[in-house]
């Protein structure tokens, strides 16, 4: 499914594979741009936009504006693929908090990307339960088959990145992995080529 299809319905009602930019275009995946966006910053929550409406609806659920910070950052990440300094400033202004505060929150949580990541961001659980079932071999297989030099690096074609992740909460289905927003259970090294072939 293409990213952003079904953008008229709020994000969480769509399947994770459809969570993506509302304009249907792909993400910026060049890690060279560091923490700042390449071009002039385009607002995520422009007045009247679908994202702005989604955020306004969210604000009614909480007694404080700050409580919408985590969901707002998720919207930024689904729109852009990562959370830039400029986006943090935009969110800060909307929620009436400081950009420095927002950065403090962004850096606390591991799932917000502070720079562009590979198109297919592969996270392999290697915490003890998966580890005891051979998760490290799965990591090696992903590194080998994606041509990523080492953990955390993006493959030369920009398509793949592999990291180890702490417990994904699917321990009975070891090894559990996540590719972007999608879970795959019971992954073994033999399954890795087939999984990668299924990614565009």
């Amino acid at each position: 499914m293409s990213p952003g299809s079904g953008a008229s319905t709020p994000e969480y009602f769509r399947a994770p594979s459809e969570w993506g930019p509302s304009d249907g275009k792909g993400f910026e995946t060049d890690p060279g741009s560091g923490h700042h966006e390449h071009q002039t910053y385009q607002s995520v929550f422009t007045a009247g936009s679908a994202r702005r409406k989604e955020l306004d609806a969210l604000l009614t659920r909480y007694p404080t504006k700050m409580a919408a910070l985590l969901p707002a950052l998720w919207m930024v990440q689904h729109e852009r693929g990562w959370v830039s300094e400029e986006a943090m400033a935009e969110v800060a202004e909307l929620l009436e908090i400081t950009p420095a505060y927002v950065k403090g929150v962004v850096t606390f949580y591991t799932m917000y990307h502070q720079h562009p990541v590979a198109k297919h961001f592969i996270q392999v659980c290697t915490t003890s339960p998966c580890n005891a079932c051979g998760a490290e071999d799965v990591v090696d297989a992903f590194l080998r088959h994606t041509n990523c030099q080492e953990l955390g690096q993006t493959s030369p074609d920009g398509k793949f990145g592999v990291i180890e992740v702490e417990c994904l909460g699917a321990c009975g289905f070891a090894t559990a992995i996540m590719i972007n927003e999608d879970f795959i259970e019971s992954v073994t090294p033999d399954r890795v080529p087939e999984i990668l072939a299924g990614l565009e």
């Binding site: 409580a67 799932m111 003890s128 580890n131 321990c171 009975g172």
Partner: protein, 436 residues
């Protein structure tokens, strides 16, 4: 229905009855299975009466601490003029635990109903379900269930035509084990870093948004509709005759080196030996169990003899040197380098420490470094004493128990499997697995 296995004849499937049943996910399917009758009943009752029934049932928190649910609810004072909140802790991140995930995937309406009843019982108009960020599929399913419930008038300003307001919302986390700690969860919900808060004040006095708050685990809340429908006495049919302190059924997530990993539901007091060998199929071919962690990685490791002697309830596990915890059963067999797995557990805690308290920030990191050094074959004879001393300094000295949780597998591992550590230190070689 069982998931991923058919239920064993000795299981008691109450909460897991519809795991794997795709129809139960939808509102219509859920109503056909008796859904929302308990909420309708609850909304016609006085909140205090609901609390009394839950108290009488003996239901205790299924997230790990085992605090009596009805007692926790009774801390919420009605008519104090403040907004009350219910938080559902769905930040299931304890390694070895994946029961709440299946509850949310297969029976999201059961959770919505449990949250609605819980909110009404404690005088709250809003319940937040805090789901860990990695659980994308449960987020979708619970959100969809909530959407269906609002559309059907089950939630909202006039819940089921009762004139009462019940709101339930999902709040998605963003990758932090510590947000499963109740005060960290509240901070995260408020849009803050997930640093635990000092208690007191306890959540019932000053919780989320500084208002009286109750936090319950997913499994706890899902049990409530059954109790309301069938009564407190009915729920107490599942307990050991000699131990009325643990009642009802409990879901266990089983993982690691075992024939049939997955979720199992058994009554309180079930023999752990039968559970491991009959229900879960025992060790892998040619292997033997080496060590068992019955309640998520934060509880003490058991030897096989301790595990086989345990009865599966809060007191039964304590009597055999460990705790029920979250019910995440992790099994390691004799092909595993146990020291390496303990080192990996320590690394998990080092990664997940919020770094607020010195004992935890430094202790988790140093324990990991020393353990990984031992695994690499560079351990020294003083290392084990150093680890135990670090563990002692990490226990009972911090704002939350993450620090204690890191020390537990390390200290209990050294206490019960010291020979494994010493062998690695003496030989100065990598681990060689036992021959099958």
């Amino acid at each position: 229905m069982g998931y991923p296995h058919k239920p064993h004849a000795r299981e008691t499937v109450l909460l897991s009855q519809y795991f794997g049943d795709a129809e139960a996910v939808t509102l219509d399917g859920w109503k056909k299975r008796g859904g929302y009758t308990a909420l309708r009943k609850a909304l016609g009752m006085a909140p205090g009466d609901i609390v009394t029934i839950v108290k009488d049932s003996g239901l205790r928190g299924r997230g790990g601490a085992g605090f009596p649910t009805g007692v926790k609810w009774s801390f919420m004072k009605p008519g104090d003029g403040k907004p009350h909140y219910l938080c559902c802790n769905a930040d299931e991140s304890e390694p070895g635990t994946f029961k709440d995930r299946e509850i949310m995937r297969w029976t999201p309406h059961a959770l919505v109903e449990g949250c609605a009843i819980g909110a009404y019982a404690i005088g709250a108009e809003t319940a937040y379900i805090y789901i860990r960020g990695e659980f994308t599929e449960p987020v979708v399913r619970v959100e969809n269930a909530i959407k269906e419930a609002y559309a059907a008038g089950i939630l909202g300003k006039n819940a089921m035509g009762s004139g009462k307001t019940v709101n339930v919302w999902v709040h998605r986390g963003a990758g932090a084990y510590i947000c499963g700690e109740e005060t960290a969860l509240m901070n995260s919900l408020e849009g803050k870093r997930g640093n635990p808060r000092i208690k007191p004040p306890f959540p019932a006095v000053s919780g989320v948004f500084a208002q009286p708050t109750t936090i319950n685990n997913v499994e706890t809340l899902v049990a409530v509709p059954h109790i309301l429908n069938n009564g407190a006495e009915w729920y107490k049919q599942w307990m050991r005759p000699d131990n009325p302190k643990s009642t009802g059924t409990k879901l266990y997530s089983v993982c690691g080196n075992i024939q049939k990993p997955g979720n199992y539901e058994v009554p309180m007091g079930f023999p752990f030996k039968d559970f491991l060998y009959e229900l879960c199929g025992g060790p892998l071919p040619g292997r033997r169990f080496k060590a068992i962690i019955p309640g998520g990685i934060s509880v003490p490791i058991q030897t096989v003899a301790e595990a086989e002697a345990s009865l599966m309830d809060y007191e039964g596990f304590v009597a055999n040197g460990t705790m029920l915890g979250s019910g995440g059963v992790i099994v390691f067999d004799d092909a595993q380098n146990l020291v390496k797995q303990i080192a990996r557990a320590a690394r998990f805690f080092a990664h997940e420490s919020c770094a607020q308290c010195t004992q935890c920030r430094e202790g988790t990191a140093w324990s990991t470094k020393i353990l990984e050094r031992i695994v690499a074959g560079d351990g020294t004879s003083e290392d084990l004493d150093t680890l135990l001393e670090i563990g002692e300094n990490m226990t009972g000295k911090t704002i939350c128990v993450l620090s204690d949780s890191c020390a537990t597998p390390v200290s209990s591992g050294i206490a019960k499997f010291r020979a494994d550590f010493e062998a690695l230190i003496k030989k100065k070689v990598h681990f060689v697995p036992a021959v099958a």
